[in-house]
Subunit: 556 residues, 2 copies
């Protein structure tokens, strides 16, 4: 007896210690996962196991609202419906455990006035409970409640609970950090997408759609400032917006966005109803109810243009809004992401404008110069512009590539530029030309090509100048090139040029009517003109794409 | 005796259990930090404490090299010099513990043949040791060795060790994730910087410098493909490169970078000596020894140009290299970051080229058209170009802004464009003009302004056309504007125009010499011409910035 007693004590203790180590080793094993749900469930199961309980719940404390949020429910009373539900952090036995920062053991739930929960869930009758807070750095961050326990190893349970809290925190930090990386990654991809287009509308749509997704918002919208009209032009995300509607406009000073655009300050509003700047008219326009809102300015940074162009100064060109955060509220990261996106978008929009301006400047300047050369002779007024329009109509009819179409537009516009080198007296001579004068006129393709050949970026257009009087059968000028030597652009311009010449008045005859003109073109097709482009011009005419010169009165 | 024995057993056990809980609670507390160094030191201290040892080391297993790396050294034998040192993972007592995946207790170190370490470190004599592996998910990830222990609570020590391993892993994951976020953040800022310039050289320098920093490399370089010459043009990071040297060139097929540019495949090379593609000549050029290398292609994505310009196709324009990773080797994240940077940079370089091309196209086309108009009269050949050059020289002399300088260049180039509307016969009339003919000539400013006024983006230049014959005293034409009504651009162009007229031959007189011309300008300054710009032209002439027309021979 004595011997056995003397042996049993240490042996029991050794057993107990050995069991404890197994439990702690199991806790280590559980903690080695970074899967949050697995971790919490298995840790709660372990706590249930050491207490012999058959039902357990784990809550996290929301310190903003002082509420306990059901996070995990395990065991016989497993009721996943509870997950996500909230109770006041001072309510019930669990609330008391959190408030008192210590474990509470209730051996008979039915007699405890603090218990207000569903004692009988149908599946399981809850008889007793142990509730204890999860402590991290001395403060409660959650709680665990075990029901129908058979043992009360409080210290061990709390140890496991605190471990659970610590692992939860680290796993959440890791998850948030991963999510942050993923959002930055998404932002980078979005920036790459935005910067691979110089098409203004496409940039606007990309920003709007992607801002919504990036910020997990219900919608987003973009406002561009029209300084002259003192208005904001409103673009909504595409799902809310019928693209055939013209963009909506509102006075520039209205709304939270008006303030953001004016001041350059970001606005992050949890409930717009409480913000005096909110302009309810926007909701009427969009048909949605704005609750939360994050609005940032579209601020173009200082852009170094290079060479002689200097620097374009920083300015605010509008704003971007994300509307109604889908979960929670817009936070610091959202502000950072949307601001970065907006700045990059503004920069790309600005560069798209610069590019578009440079392009417009070229085309407009060439257009007015060419028009002024044509205008020296009233009979050729508007000729180059019309030949350009007709040539582009042919290109469109044949669905040629946009690049080629642009080249055709420019080449056709310039095709007669060589007339600069032909004396006015010959160009605008009222009567028939002498052979010598006609020889002078026939120099204009070569003169034109000679003028333009020094322009590196007009090499594709050069044949429109040099070859537009060549003919497929080799009877054209200046070189009498054969069909296989005449470039596509020159063949197209030749058709457009002949059509405009026939339909325009001349000193010696009025312009012909369309039917006659088309008949003449058809007659020339194959030996003088390229049949494919003659047919394309006729088809374009039939589609209403060709507007020949208005017939002048016979007296004019 | 019996009683005491019966009581002592459980009491001792309870004491023991209570101590165990305190130790485990301490472990939880230690684990609640995310400071890695604190965590490892304190955990090792705890292990030392439970064993009564006075010196402890912790190693991490590098599975790539099968080495144990000293991570922490604590206690009396604390020797921080050891940290970072490596031993083979099969060597010594610690190696045996890792290989056998279990604890090894050595009661007398001096007799153990496996012990090869410094038994006597001077400060402390190492008598005995416990070595055990740190296990995570069944595999060793490191090891702990305790010296001069007085107790052997192996289970507890291993429990704490495994906990340490698990916390280490999570903290490292978190740290890596944070670092990843920080690098993405840095990349985003870099992209924003790159896209706020259209200046090619600035973009190139930004890429090179920042790629080096972003990848923690010793240097980086950028190669642009010159397809015509079949060469790569080499740009080195600025610290290695004297900017007054012309860019270096090498045959396009040479080196790892040649392969990357040709194939579009990334190359990540730990030791270039082992890579047959490596071209040692690059090291001779740069003067540094390349060890590791990460090279990615500069691939321009498909860019939507908008409107009629269509799409510019994806192409490889060169490559970017990061050279010699400062710590470890280039990894997947490095590849991802450099690839993203390279793609964005290529895109921005491409857009900068597009913008620069559009600008060049405009200026070159206007230049040749204007030149061809001037060339109709041999006496005005090259006039507009010279007036433009002189005007820009005045602007540069006065350090006017780049934007204004550009405007002056364009306006001056176009100033006589109205001559298109004046009959050739008058423009190139050999003798003196009649009053009527002179009246026709005097229409050219208004005609020019009329031609250009429809061009939205030439409004700043318009006065150069409309007002370049106005005079400060109101005696100019067409409007006889007063000094305060004549714009800056017109005053500058007027000075340049008069200077070129005086120094050029005329049908009725040869061009005057410079001294006479400058004297005439000085005489006109104040009442006809703006003195400030006259003086600027004279200063520019004295600085060698003004090249007047070469004097034609009297016969010419």
């Amino acid at each position: 007896m004595l011997n056995s007693s003397r042996l049993t004590g240490p042996l029991q203790a050794a057993d107990e210690t050995s069991r404890l180590y197994r439990i702690l080793a199991r806790a280590n094993q559980i903690a080695s996962t970074t899967e949050l749900d697995d971790l919490l469930c298995e840790m709660l199961d372990l706590i249930l196991m050491v207490s012999g309980g058959n039902t357990g719940t784990m809550y996290l404390l929301d310190t903003h609202t002082n509420e306990l949020v059901f996070q995990v429910v395990r065991g016989a009373g497993d009721n996943t419906k509870l997950v996500g539900q909230r109770i006041c952090a001072t309510d019930g036995i669990i609330g008391a455990a959190v408030q008192e920062k210590q474990a509470i053991i209730v051996d008979d739930l039915a007699t405890d006035v603090r218990w207000y929960g569903p004692v009988d869930e149908g599946k399981v009758i809850l008889e007793n409970t142990i509730a204890f807070p999860l402590m991290l750095r001395g403060e409660p961050v959650g709680a665990v409640q075990v029901f129908n326990f058979s043992q009360k190893p409080i210290q061990l349970m709390q140890l496991l609970g605190n471990r659970m809290a610590s692992e939860y925190e680290k796993t959440m930090l890791l998850r948030k950090s991963h999510q942050h990386s993923q959002r930055l990654q998404a932002l980078i991809e979005l920036i790459a997408k935005i910067s691979s287009t110089l098409d203004r509308d496409q940039i606007l749509n990309l920003i709007i759609d992607q801002a919504r997704d990036l910020l997990n918002a219900e919608a987003s919208s973009l406002f561009l400032l029209d300084e002259k009209q003192h208005e904001l032009i409103l673009y909504l995300s595409r799902d809310m917006y019928q693209t055939n509607l013209p963009p909506l406009r509102m006075p520039a000073e209205l709304g939270i966005i008006g303030d953001v655009v004016r001041t350059g300050q970001t606005a992050c509003v949890d409930d717009v109803k409480l913000d005096p700047r909110h302009y309810a008219g926007i909701d009427e326009i969009s048909g949605m109810t704005t609750k939360s809102l994050l609005a940032v300015p579209l601020r173009v940074p200082t852009v170094v243009l290079g060479r002689e162009r200097g620097i374009s100064q920083s300015c605010i060109i509008g704003g971007v809004e994300a509307i109604n955060k889908r979960e929670g509220h817009f936070d610091k990261t959202d502000v950072q992401l949307l601001s970065t996106l907006a700045e990059q978008a503004a920069s790309v929009l600005h560069i798209a404008d610069l590019y578009s301006n440079a392009d417009e400047l070229f085309l407009n300047t060439v257009t007015v110069l060419v028009a002024s050369i044509d205008a020296k002779d009233p009979y050729t007024e508007g000729h180059s512009q019309r030949v350009s329009d007709f040539s582009v109509a042919i290109a469109e009819q044949l669905n040629l590539s946009p690049e080629l179409r642009h080249s055709i537009r420019v080449g056709a516009l310039l095709h007669d530029i060589g007339k600069i080198g032909v004396p006015d007296t010959i160009l605008s001579k009222p009567g028939r030309l002498t052979a010598g004068e006609y020889a002078e006129i026939k120099k204009h393709p070569a003169i034109g090509a000679n003028i333009i050949q020094g322009v590196r970026l007009l090499q594709d257009e050069l044949p429109a100048l040099a070859q537009h009087h060549e003919r497929l059968d080799g009877t054209g000028y200046p070189h009498g090139l054969g069909a296989d030597q005449i470039s596509l652009i020159a063949r197209i311009v030749a058709v457009a040029d002949v059509f405009d010449a026939i339909t325009s008045d001349r000193p010696y005859r009025p312009g012909m009517d369309i039917a006659t003109a088309l008949a003449i073109l058809r007659r020339e097709a194959g030996h003088h003109l390229d049949e494919r482009f003659v047919e394309a011009l006729i088809a374009a005419y039939q589609n209403g794409k060709i507007k020949p010169q208005l017939r002048k009165s016979p007296a004019g």
